[in-house]
Structures are given as C-alpha cells and as structure tokens.
C-alpha cells in the first residue's frame, strides 16, 4: 500500500516536470502568449476563434487563453501573479483594478504600429471622445477598450400597470419621483418587502451611487485629487436620501435583499425596476424568452435630481486590454498585434456578447443602431463621468459601502457617517 503511494507521488512529480519541460521551447522559434480574461461563454466563443485565426496568420505565436470568475477572483489572481513576477502577457481588467498597474509601470504603453495605427494620435481619433482618457497616463496610452459599460433603469411594465401607473409616461425621471413611484408600487407584509419598486446596485457605489452626488454638484475627490471632499451639501442630501430609502426610513429596499438585477429576469413579482447594463437584455432573451418577447420591459435613463446642476447619468466603467511590461520585446509586440486583431471586430463583441467597444466605426454601423437601446446607453455615457480611477479606488468604495450601510442598516446619523467617510478617505490617501 505504501509502495503504491510512493509510486503515485513519484509519477506525479515526474509528470509535472515533463509538462513544463515541454513548454520551454527555444526563444527564437516560437513564443507562447498567456492571455487572462473573464469567464463568459459568449466571449469565449468569439475570442477562441480570434485566437485560431491569429495563430494561423502568425504561426510562430501560440496563444493560451485562460478565463477566471470576474470580480475579486480574477483581480486577485492577476495581482498575485504579477507580485511574484509571473504575470501573463495580456490582461483584461476593469480600470478600477488595473489603474495601479499603469501607475507602477507594470503594463506597457501602446505600440501603435503593432496595433495597426500610424500613431497614438490616430488611435484617439478612432475612439469616442474621452473614452480613452482613463487609460492615458502621463501622455501615453496604456490599453485598448474591451468594453465600456454603464447602467440605466430597466423596468417591468406589468407591475407599473398593476399599481395603476402608465409605464411609458409615469416612469420616474427624477429621484424625487422615484420615491413617489416606490410608494405606489411597493408591496409589503409587515416589515418585509415582497415587491420592491426599485433597488440600488448595492456593492457598486463608485459606479451607481456617486453620480447622484455629482448631479448635485458634489464629488468624492477635490479637483486636484489630493483630498476627499465628500462631506458636502450634496453628499449629505444623497446620504439622507439613502436613509429615507432604507429600512429605517420609508423601507423601500435594502442591501440585504437578493440583488434586484438578478431577480428581474424571473419576472416573479419581486422587483419592478433595477439598475443594470445593456447586457441584461441579451441574458433576458435566453433566460426568459416569453418575457423578452412580450416586450413588457423597457430601458429608461438613470434618474436625476430635480434641481441637479449637472445632467450626468450613471458613471461608466471600462475594461482595457493591457500588455505586461516585463515580457520580452517580441512577446509584447505580438501581444499588441493580437489586441489589435481582436479590437477590429467590435460588431461581433456587440452582437455575441452585448459588449460595447466605443469605436467610432461601431457607432455608425447598422449593428449598433439596430440594437435596442444601444443609442440610449451611448447618449447617457456621453453626458456622464467615468468611474474614478485612483490608486485607492477600491478602498474608497469599501469606505462608501460602510458609510451607506451604517446609515441604512444601523441607523447612524447621515452627517456623522459622511464625516467619518471623508476623514477615513483622507487618512487612506496619506498612506493610512
């Protein structure tokens, strides 16, 4: 028995060694690029095809594409790999998480020629105004967009009608109206809400909560991004709004209920509106075709405050393809070539995965213009701000979460919570 175990272990070690002896082929002849991105079956279908086509075109390059669960999982994986110096050649992360890679020089500035342009200038001209600003640092461009996304209000018409409202006319255009609509649509059993009119996209405060403050003229960081200024009139009003919305106020919703957007597609009466992205309709088509076909849903713009000084919608987030700066030059060049190849197909990303790549050519195409609500999203994005990118962006979001949750769930005074938030954010920026 023991001998069998020992034998097994030896077999493992030997096979492990062999598996990797195989990969270390001569540098001059063939290279293998590692490309890490999100798990998404539709994306995998398209990109695997791109991999095949690219490998046929450049036979000396092999691309190994690996996918990981989005969010913390992939972020952690990429972080640790880079930390020990074994990062992949190409990464695709959300800007909030990938900004530090740019600042620390872990990813390389773009190679316009490899990507298929004559100059960096030309690239900017090819993409929608302003959408590449977040990935520009000290005058250099560090990536190309894999997707640009934002959230708007998706509503279920049936539940509006059940409450005696006309969905096409009576949908909430302002946050004040939202409270009125919620009053009519919400159904409760005692304290427990059985049907929510609407609920926020709770974990994503930088994307979906901060814009409310910005609408009232406030912001999280000062203009020079040196300190936190959330503790303002605007911030206080929005914080008070959350208090009113939550279980200690008028009890319209709370972070402790199941996600609004996850329940929406089920059409089970538990949620009438949610904040979500364009991709949700693609999912709806597959998950609940009857509901999708019935047309009993529609997208409307993200609400504003009635006295808003800025007409911005939800902040938009972006994912960028980036290249590891520590790999050999030829690897980097090939990586940029591959990225250039992938981004030449924005229509496919749109049709197959409902992902928007903000290329001007896409905006003009039929595919885009015929896609339901694509124009709404682009119009909103044009008016809105990008999600803030900062070395401590993730920590800021955590602090926001604490503040908002303390106000909504444990009844902390909004002014106090806001003060603490600003104080802690400033400490963090000083290296705390």
């Amino acid at each position: 028995m023991k001998r069998i175990c020992v034998f097994f272990v030896l077999v493992l070690i030997i096979s492990g060694v062999f598996m990797f002896a195989g990969e270390k082929k001569g540098e001059a002849q063939k290279i293998t690029l590692l490309y890490w991105t999100f798990e998404d079956p539709t994306l995998t279908t398209i990109e695997e095809r791109f991999v095949q086509e690219f490998q046929n075109k450049y036979p000396d390059v092999t691309i190994k594409r690996s996918t990981y669960p989005s969010g913390e999982n992939i972020e952690q994986k990429v972080l640790i790999a880079f930390a020990v110096g074994k990062g992949p050649d190409i990464i695709n992360l959300e800007m909030r998480a990938s900004f530090p890679y740019v600042v620390y020089g872990r990813v390389a500035p773009i190679d316009p020629e490899a990507v298929g342009y004559k100059s960096q200038e030309e690239i900017y001209n090819d993409y929608l105004e302003g959408t590449l600003n977040v990935v520009t640092h000290e005058g250099k461009l560090y990536g190309l967009p894999e997707q640009l996304g934002s959230y708007n209000l998706l509503l279920n018409k049936k539940y509006f009608r059940e409450a005696g409202l006309n969905p096409e006319k009576d949908y909430p255009k302002t946050w004040e109206e939202m409270l009125e609509v919620a009053e009519k649509i919400t159904i409760r059993e005692g304290e427990i809400i059985m049907r929510r009119a609407f609920d926020f996209r709770y974990p994503q405060y930088l994307t979906s909560w901060l814009p409310m403050v910005q609408q009232l003229g406030g912001s999280f960081l000062s203009k020079d991004a040196s300190r936190c200024v959330i503790n303002s009139e605007a911030g206080l009003r929005v914080m008070q709004y959350m208090a009113e919305w939550g279980p200690n106020g008028r009890n319209f919703g709370s972070p402790t209920y199941a996600n609004a957007r996850k329940n929406f597609n089920k059409d089970d009466g538990s949620i009438a509106m949610c904040l979500t992205g364009l991709y949700q309709t693609a999912r709806l088509k597959v998950e609940n075709p009857a509901f999708y076909e019935s047309g009993e849903w529609m997208f409307v713009p993200y609400p504003r405050f009635a006295d808003a000084v800025s007409d911005n919608g939800c902040n938009y987030y972006s994912h960028f393809f980036m290249v590891n700066a520590e790999k050999p030059d030829y690897n980097q060049k090939s990586a940029w070539r591959f990225i250039g190849y992938m981004t030449k197909h924005p229509e496919e990303y749109m049709v197959e995965s409902a992902l928007i790549q903000p290329r001007k050519s896409l905006m003009k195409s039929d595919v885009f213009n015929k896609y339901p609500y694509a124009d709404l999203f682009i119009q909103e994005i044009a008016k809105s701000y990008p999600v803030i990118h900062h070395m401590n962006a993730l920590k800021f979001e955590e602090l926001m979460k604490e503040a908002i949750q303390s106000v909504m769930l444990t009844g902390v005074d909004p002014k106090e919570a806001l003060q603490r938030l600003e104080q802690k954010a400033n400490e963090v920026m000083l290296g705390g």
Partner: protein, 302 residues
C-alpha cells in the same frame, strides 16, 4: 482477567436491550425518548438547508426563489441536471473538473493520512530529545493563516514550474498539522504494553507501526481520511491560484463559474451542488463500517 468472559447476557433479552449491554450504558425509557428527541430535532434543523438544495435542484429557477418556498415541487425539472453537466457553454467540462477534484483529493488524503499517522506515532510513542519542541513547531504551522503564506507559497510553486498541473495542486497541501495532531492524541492512549512486548519479540519500529498500531487506530484513520478528503474537495483559493487551463480546474471553481453574474439559474446551481456532494456521501457510506469497528485489543488479555 478471566472474569471478563462471564459478562455475556445470560438471557435472551430483546435485541434493543442487548445492544445496551454491549455498550455498557443503559438508559431508562424517558432518557431514551429525550435522547432520540434531541437527536431528531437537531438533525432536522441541520438537514433543512440540504433538503432545500435537493428539492431546488429539480425546480425551475423561478420556483426556487419563491416566497413562501413550496417544499413539494409541482414538477420535476430534470433539465437542471443536464444543464449542470453541460455547463453554460456546452463544454461538459464539469465531468473533467469532477475527475480532477477526485484525483487531487484522493492523493492528498492518502498522503496526509499516511504521513500524519506516521508523524503522530513518532510524537506519541517514540521519545526523543526535542520531541516536544518538534510537536510545538508542527502545531504552529496550523496556526498560520493561509492568507499570510499564500503569496510566498505561490512563488515557491511557480519557481518549480508546477503551475497548472496536478503536482502544484497536490504537493503544497500534502501534509497537514491538524492530521498530525489528531493522530497523536489518539495514539497517546494506545497501551504501551503491547508495543513494548512486540519490541521485545524483535519487531522493527515500522512493523509495529504498520501491523499493530495502525489496524487498531482505524476509527481515527478513517475519520481523518474523510475530513481531509472533504476539505480538499471544497478548496477554492489554492486551485484558483494554481490552475490556468479549464482542464485542470476543480469543482469549487466550476461552481463559482456557474453562478456568475450573467447566468442565474439557481435550480441548475443546486443540481451542480448535488452532483458535487455525491462522491462524499458515497465515500462516507462506504467507510462508515470502519467507524464503529472500535478497538479489539484482544492481544492485551494475554
């Protein structure tokens, strides 16, 4: 010593009472009722989430999240299982993931149990200078949070080139201090007399370990085996860090992947979970007979 033989029940009492005689405890009728009562109620509470899992696995997702939850499904939505195995991308990779989990967990369990028993025996029965220090050092490794050593461990493993391989999945988890601690505590109570008499008869330390001690520590060995297997089955962070290709991933990664943002079919997710739980249940049932074997130290009577 001979007196022992006389403690057989002389009368043919009912089977129940005979059982108590065997074990040596006897409960009155009321006690019996209470004990069963407590056992059943706690069992019910404990099993409810599992019942939820099994029942939901055959429901369409709309019914899974229904409030109030209907325990008896109106129809049996077996498609959930098909989708579970097929995966959201139609690749059937789940089958490979199950195989991986099985292989990795088995290897880790075999090595852990063997080395833990060996080390536990050494610490319990073979006195040597510095034994207590060694014991403390080994215990100390149990107290290190995984998050703290995650990165250096990843560094070592990638330096050997073990990423995305079975080697990388198995070797860093091959031994664990918990197992050693467990075995030591059990083996401490093993009677020295038996060991010493075997030594006097000339048996080598290893033979004593293999032929005498181990067979009599079966309940502990089996317990450790099951616990280790289960722990490996569920391990998420390390496989996440080590694997790159889909063919190498394990079950928990599949579950996370199945439950991603864009695909929310709770019924199928529960089906995935049911399938993932089956091997452990089978393992437990097949090993269960070793548990109640108990010690048969007949050798002691001589």
């Amino acid at each position: 010593m001979n007196k022992v033989r006389m403690v057989q029940p002389t009368r043919k009492i009912g089977k129940r009472k005979q059982a108590y005689h065997r074990v040596g405890w006897r409960f009155s009728y009321l006690d019996n009722f209470l004990v069963w009562g407590i056992l059943v109620v706690t069992m019910g509470l404990v099993l409810t989430p599992l019942a939820f899992m099994v029942v939901s696995s055959v429901m369409p997702y709309r019914e899974v999240m229904r409030i109030p939850f209907r325990w008896i499904p109106t129809s049996f939505h077996w498609q959930n299982y098909w989708q579970a195995i097929r995966g959201n991308d139609g690749s059937f990779i789940y089958l490979r993931n199950i195989l991986n989990s099985f292989f990795v967990a088995s290897m880790v369990t075999l090595t852990t149990v063997f080395i833990s028993a060996m080390t536990g025996y050494g610490l319990a029965k073979l006195p040597f200078r510095g034994r207590n220090l060694v014991f403390i050092m080994i215990m100390a490794t149990m107290m290190v949070p995984f998050e703290a050593i995650m990165i250096p461990l990843y560094l070592i493993v990638t330096k050997f080139g073990w990423q995305d391989s079975y080697t990388g999945l198995i070797i860093p988890l091959m031994v664990n201090a918990f197992g050693i601690f467990l075995m030591r505590q059990f083996l401490i109570t093993f009677p020295d007399a038996v060991i010493d008499s075997a030594r006097i008869e000339g048996a080598s330390e290893f033979r004593i370990f293999w032929d005498i001690v181990l067979p009599n520590a079966i309940p502990a060995v089996v317990a450790l085996g099951i616990l280790t297997f289960r722990q490996q089955w569920d391990s998420l962070i390390w496989p996440l860090l080590i694997t790159q290709s889909e063919e190498m991933k394990t079950i928990p990664l599949y579950i996370v992947r199945f439950n991603s943002e864009k695909y929310t079919n709770e019924g199928a997710l529960m089906a995935v979970a049911v399938i993932a739980s089956l091997p452990i249940i089978i393992l437990f049932f097949s090993m269960a007979r070793y548990f109640t074997g108990g010690l048969t130290i007949s050798g002691m009577k001589h």
